[in-house]
């Protein structure tokens, strides 16, 4: 019963928040709504017993990601009202609703498979974090490490792209210009 109430409550809340995120004209609203939605999502995780995931969600998303976005918003000066010319709202809305309807249409039927064999079963008597740790560092060690590398890649990418060096494009400069610029650079360095 509690579960049901919580589910519906959070469902509605998340849906509304996300809806606001995608429709509002106020960038700030959108950001706030997104953050709120994410937090509500973590509620589902907790309901479903995925405590670790819930925590990660709050920390990574609401903490890190939203902070990045907030920073971005300030950088891009999008705090004021957005002026968006929406191309063809009908198509847009139609497509998304259709996709939802189709999937839902299928999902309302229960899955009938009986042959499901889980690969990483929950280990009885452990906390969620423990068992996740167990799986993460055995079976999913490779993806985990790779994810780390991926984050490294993302970091390098972010740094390089946002870096000062990008302000001047060697691609567009003629060779002579590059020479001059390098000389100038050296003088500064000296």
């Amino acid at each position: 019963m509690f579960e049901a109430i919580a589910f519906y409550l959070f469902s509605i809340l998340t849906a509304v928040m996300f809806y606001i995120t995608v429709t509002t004209k106020q960038a700030l609203f959108a950001l706030t709504a997104l953050a709120a939605g994410m937090i509500f999502i973590s509620a589902f995780f907790f309901i479903l017993g995925a405590d670790f995931l819930g925590v990660v969600q709050i920390i990574v998303y609401t903490g890190a990601v939203m902070a990045l976005y907030a920073f971005g918003m300030m950088f891009f000066d999008t705090t004021r009202e957005l002026k968006e010319r929406s191309g063809s709202p009908l198509i847009t809305a139609g497509l998304s609703i259709l996709s939802a309807v189709f999937v839902v249409l299928i999902f309302v039927a229960p899955i009938v498979s009986t042959k499901i064999q889980v690969t990483a079963p929950l280990i009885a008597g452990t906390t969620n974090s423990q068992s996740i740790g167990m799986v993460l560092f055995t079976k999913y060690l490779v993806p985990f490490e790779l994810a780390a590398v991926m984050l490294l890649v993302a970091m390098i990418a972010g740094i390089v792209l946002a870096g000062k060096k990008m302000d001047r494009s060697l691609t567009l400069m003629a060779e002579e210009e590059i020479m001059i610029a390098e000389e100038a650079n050296r003088k500064v360095l000296l």
């Binding site: 198509i91 259709l98 299928i106």
Partner: protein, 635 residues
Amino acid sequence: MELYLYIALFSPLVGALFAGLFGASPKTLLTGVVNSSLLFASFLSSAVLLGYVLNGQTVHVEMMEWMATGNLYIPFGFVVDQVSVTMMMVVTTVSTVVHVYSIGYMDHDKGFNRFFSYLSAFVFSMMVLVMSDNFAGLFIGWEGVGLCSWLLIGFWYHKESATWAANEAFIMNRIADLGMLIGIFLVYWNTGSLQYDKAFAVMPTLDNMTLTYIGVFLFIGAMGKSAQFPLHTWLADAMEGPTPVSALIHAATMVTAGVYLVVRANPLYHMIPEMGLFIASLGAFVAMFAATMALVNRDMKRIIAYSTLSQLGYMFVAAGLGAYWVALFHLMAHAFFKALLFLGAGNVMHAMDDELDPFKMGGLRKSMKWTFIMMTLASVALAGIYPLAGFFSKDAILEVGFVEHHYVIYTVLLLTAGLTAFYSFRLVALIFHGEERYKVFGFHPHEAYKFVLIAMSPLALLAVIAGSFKSTYFEMVTKILPNTEYHIHSEVTEWTMIIGTQLFVILAIFFAYKKYINFKGENKEFEKRLVYKVLINQYYVPYFYEEYITKPYRELSTIFWKKVDLKVVDATVDCIANGIYKAGENTRDMQNGSLSSMLRWMVAGTVILLSLAVAFGLAVRYADEISAVLSGLGA
């Protein structure tokens, strides 16, 4: 004997090549002399062969293989037998004369050498035609003479009318040649060979239908070459060529090739008498038809050409009725006097600066005595007056008609004989008698060179005496041809007929003289009559061809090109290509550079796939229900 055969056959070719070497250079008398000598050599060889054949022997050689594939075997084989030797004699005699004559006639022409080259080439082709021992070889000669005819008719190629006539002759002959080709195919597939002897040996085993087909198609070929109705129009137009050409090709030799073919194929036509009757009827019709056109024509050469046409009709009557030897005999006799007639006409033309209208001449007998004599002789022979050549040959044909009980044909031919006499002497009268009308036009006629006249004299001689060879000839040629003699049973009838005919002809001559000897002005009244109009317009046949065949063909061609080929066939191809290209042009906006629409496309693609998935999923899930519903609907 083979040597003589090869000399007879190839010396004209040597001449042609020799003259051809100088083809583009200005006149060298040498070519004329050399070619004439070569032709004379050919004539002598033919004569030797004739002597050989008269002894009852024939020569048959196979020079080399030409085509051989599958079952087909065609050699270059030549046969000198009684039939071909006749033709060889005719061809070589007339052509030798014409060659010598041409030295004089073409004296001032730029294309002197070229002319001799063509002329000799023609003789070679003609020799191939008559000497070949198979249908394919015959066809070589057949086409070869066609080519030479084209070259010679169009000899003065700067004249529009000459080139037009040349093309007409070639194309019309080609139409007939197709028939001949089909005939040859039929022979091959039914008898397995194209050799005369083998093919004719097999023919009796074939059914009548096949034989008729073969006969019909071969005869179509003959119709073209011999200018039988309805393929006759080219012959009159062919008179655009130099006169010696008309004498040689369009009177004496080439046009008789059709007759030769029918004679050659006598074993075949013998088996299909219905076809023979048709040939005879057509021949009779053409004889009359052409003679009527000659009555009113105002072109000297055309008149003679129509006369040729008419005489060819006679020959076909004989050949069609099975009197092959008679046909051949008339062919021979006709060759001599008709060539003579043409050469005489050539002299007149030369004298009159190529004027062809006899109404502008008159009284030429004073200045051109020898020509006058020879032409008159030829005309008498043509008219069939005893004892000249024409009498023996033409009367024989009349007799054939009578004896074979084809009285209609006989009557037609008899009437034609009268017409022939009439128009021949109309021409003689207009040219040589009466007032000297040419003076008005400022002509200064003169007699031809002496050697020209001498060259013509053998023909004149032959025109006179050829009839006397009749029995000898009969002896010889019937060794391979059916030896039917045509004698009217009762002598009274026979004599009545001969005398009657002679009287009729003489009457016609007299009438012609009377009407035209003192010709003053033109008979305007007569020219308004329908008869005249029909005749002068050649029964509107050329008009019909021009309006209903040539023009539509030309227009259809243009339509095919401009409308069908460019607008339909090609346009379809381009349309497909352009369609594809346009499709690209029109849909490239899908890629409008906007990220939003890109994303939308992606989602749209997914949604479409989803909808398909749903539809499919539902269909699978409710397969039973769907089939139940469908069966309920009666599907």
